[in-house]
């Protein structure tokens, strides 16, 4: 198992993936959000890939594991309602990662 962390340098994404390919890894797990480069797209086409914790990856070809944002929003608001709160305020996040919070919030009003 190889673990690469590109948080210090975004340009490292591609060189990490090339290194993994050269090491002939059997599959890839992409953890967290990252830009989709051509090197990454090629790797996804070539290797079994699982995307974890990334709602922005625009592909229908990989397996995906993500957090349930809608359920998370529901749990948070339900907790406040259970405590008896009737004047609850929130604001909608414009980030795509929180897209399902929009869904939950539109339900909440």
């Amino acid at each position: 198992m190889f673990i690469g962390d590109s948080r210090l340098d975004r340009l490292m994404d591609d060189s990490l993936i090339r290194a993994f390919m050269q090491s002939q890894v059997a599959g890839l797990i992409l953890a967290g959000t990252m830009p989709t480069s051509s090197v990454l797209s090629d790797a996804i086409g070539f290797l079994p890939t699982v995307s974890a914790g990334n709602r922005d990856l625009d592909t229908t070809s990989v397996d995906v594991v993500v957090q349930d944002d809608e359920e998370a929003a529901r749990l948070a608001v339900q907790h406040l309602l259970d405590l008896g709160h009737k004047r609850i305020r929130t604001w909608r996040d414009r980030k795509a990662r929180r897209l399902s919070i929009y869904v939950a919030m539109s339900m909440f009003g």
Partner: protein, 133 residues
Amino acid sequence: MEGNHLKEFVRTEFGDSTEAQGYSAGERLLSDPEDRPTAIFASNDYAALGAFSAAHDRGLSIPGDLSIVSIDNTFMANMRAVMLTSVDIRSERQGELAGDVLIDRLAVPESKRRFELAHPVLVVGETTVSPLA
């Protein structure tokens, strides 16, 4: 949950979820003493801590005057000075699931594409209590 009650009890505005945006959202939401919320729901811990600071700067006590809940349950939520009530998005569980899914995929390459959700868990800290009035 009944939709009508939610519309009545929860009011939503627009904004981002940085600490600074959380602070300004907090400032805005808490500015009118006649229409002050008893609780704020922030969509991540950064924004929650921003709102926390805004409440603090207005002399409001948390959770006595204002409850705050957020999502992520990061290390910040668990700092003892704050102990934020936050929904844990189960990053470790997501990692476990990702490993399982990849192993399954390697075993049966042609199987149907998988989409797995990690179920979140509410972690009650010290920023949420029942409202006074």
